[in-house]
């Protein structure tokens, strides 16, 4: 989403450069957005957490404290030690290494889910605000009907032919969140679609595509951002739940849900091992949710006065 806003920003930037106005501060929009994100403590928190996540995910491709594949049946559920900072799990593998490697799986899941949800959601939004009232009415009803299907049911059924896999999570969650997105964005989109500026654009001969991409999408970006960030957080949570049910991330693929699901069985005996994945998931989900809120405020020229100068 940020791309569209940024490109819009840069487009007008070039215009303003043309219009021979006194250019006192020709800062790129991205810098302004980052700065206003960083200025708020929530923004700082979420940027740090998400940044760490990204870094760890990249680092884990090349390096983890212990090789990921190494199991050691003689030292299962070991307490934290110099060799294993966070101890070992039920196969004797290093918990820290698995959590680090898990971060990239979860990152992938989150990104794919969000993309899927965004694409699907926008499609639905387009259907709902179209001038063809029959299509709009049916899509509203269909969305209301589909939205009641719980993600986990979809995942259960998808998991049978596909087996436990990332695709199951992405499709099931992306589908559900796309519907949610459409439903939530509907009012903003309708507001834009029925607004006087769209009416005058249409009166001036604008095509539906023009109106949708130029007017409606930019005006639902704030809702979109918040909803997508919620979806991202929910995807992380859903991953752990689905993996626990055996229909999420396949065995052997590191993920936070995998760490959580395998260690959760032993919470009575080895509570410490469960602590880490649980904490990480909680913190990351909080960061994602907060990030959506602050990003919305930072990226929207209506709320971020810095962008308006």
């Amino acid at each position: 989403m940020s791309e569209s806003a940024t490109s819009r920003q840069s487009r007008s930037q070039s215009q303003s450069a043309q219009s021979a106005a006194a250019e006192s501060s020709a800062q790129p929009a991205a810098t302004i957005i980052m700065r206003s994100l960083w200025q708020r403590s929530e923004g700082k928190f979420s940027l740090i957490v998400l940044g760490l996540w990204l870094i760890v995910a990249i680092v884990s491709i090349f390096w983890t404290p212990q090789p990921l594949l190494a199991t050691d049946g003689y030292h299962v559920w070991a307490a934290p030690s110099a060799a294993h900072w966070l101890g070992t799990d039920g196969t004797g593998a290093d918990v820290l290494s698995w959590l680090m490697a898990g971060s990239r799986t979860n990152l992938l899941i989150v990104i794919l889910t969000v993309l899927f949800a965004a694409a699907f959601g926008m499609l639905l939004v387009a259907a709902m605000v179209t001038r063809c009232s029959a299509l709009a009415a049916t899509s509203v009803v269909v969305i209301d009907a589909l939205i009641s299907i719980p993600t986990v049911l979809l995942a259960l059924i998808l998991a049978v032919p596909l087996g436990a896999s990332i695709a199951v999570i992405v499709v099931a969650c992306g589908f559900g969140y796309g519907l949610n997105l459409a439903r939530v964005a509907r009012s903003a989109a309708l507001l834009a679609a029925r607004s006087a500026y769209v009416e005058s654009a249409m009166a001036g001969g604008a095509s539906g595509w023009w109106v949708f991409t130029r007017h409606i999408v930019p005006n639902i970006v704030p809702v979109l951002l918040v909803q997508l960030s919620l979806s991202a957080g929910t995807a992380v949570l859903a991953e752990s739940g689905l993996t626990y049910l055996g229909i999420g991330v396949p065995s052997g693929v590191p993920s936070w849900g995998h760490s959580l699901a395998t260690s959760v069985k032993f919470i009575n005996v080895y509570p410490l091992t469960v602590l880490w994945p649980g904490l990480i998931v909680t913190v990351v989900v909080v960061a994602l949710n907060v990030f959506g809120d602050v990003l919305r405020d930072a990226i929207d020229p209506l709320t971020n006065t810095g962008l308006r100068r």
Binding site: R8, S12, Q15, S16, Q18, S19, A20, A21, A22, A192, S195, A196, Y197, E199, S200, A201, A203, G204, G205, A206, W210, R214, H215, P218, N219, V221, D300, P301, L302, R308
Partner: protein
């Protein structure tokens, strides 16, 4: 103006119903046999009580809504006429709702050009947008990069006008363009209209308002609507100075206090 002049836009015997359902008796008739026309270079004002059908009539005249009976013709051709849209400009009642809040002023003003004039280069489009802004008395160097939220009501209204005139329309429709702003700003906008009318001499204009002061200020002719019926129709001077109908007289008396 002389008799030979033909009207740009003519509406004849317009009836309009609102409401759902098939049976006519369940629907509400808001316009009763209304006929009106506009000549090039002329400014027609539509006045009347709230809910009397002013907005509906003007929307029908621009083909934004269809009438249940009666015809509208543009330059002698019955609607729909393809080039009416290109050659007309719209100014809505609420300036802020008619500007995309996330578009800069320059973008909003240039939008009609970008949609209709694919032949123009970007620079050319920008130049025309700036010219339009200047016409309505806004300095492009200051206002082009602003967002609507940073404009005052009068400024926003003038941006909306600039947007309506950027494509040099043959006819402009302004639906209560000034109700939301203070007196000083109203004057600015009226000045802007005056400039435009001097620039394009044969541009027609329809203005809807319930403020008789404004009507007196700009309009050449006045149409008085009362509950969907034409109450009075004639030159401004005549209608305001010696109204033929009681209703018009009451309106005028109440306004002069």
């Amino acid at each position: 103006m002389t008799t030979e002049l033909t009207p740009v836009l003519t509406a004849c015997h317009i009836d309009k119903y609102f409401g759902r359902g098939g049976a006519r008796q369940h629907r509400k008739q808001v316009l009763f046999d209304v006929s009106v026309d506009v000549y090039p270079g002329e400014c027609l004002a539509v006045i009347g009580g709230s809910g009397s059908g002013k907005s509906t009539l003007t929307r029908i005249m621009l083909g934004l809504e269809s009438a249940d009976s009666g015809t509208v013709s543009y330059n002698g051709h019955p609607l729909p006429v393809a080039n009416l849209r290109r050659e007309s400009g719209l100014v809505f009642q609420d300036p802020f709702s008619s500007l995309d809040p996330r578009w800069r002023v320059s973008q909003s003003v240039a939008e009609p050009l970008r949609i209709q004039r694919r032949d123009l280069s970007r620079v050319e489009i920008d130049n025309r947008a700036c010219a339009a802004l200047r016409t309505v008395g806004l300095d492009p160097t200051i206002f082009a990069d602003r967002f609507p939220i940073d404009l005052s009501g009068g400024q926003a209204q003038r941006v909306a006008i600039a947007r309506a005139i950027v494509n040099e329309p043959k006819i402009i429709l302004a639906d209560e363009p000034m109700s939301a702003i203070d007196v000083a700003a109203r004057l600015q906008i009226l000045d802007a209209f005056a400039t435009i009318r001097e620039t394009w001499r044969d541009m027609a204009m329809i203005i809807v308002s319930h403020d008789l002061g404004i009507v007196q200020h700009v309009a050449d002719r006045v149409l008085v609507l009362h509950d969907g019926h034409v109450e009075e129709y004639g030159p401004t001077e005549q209608v305001l100075a010696s109204p033929a109908s009681d209703y018009t007289r009451q309106l005028i008396d109440a306004a002069t206090l």
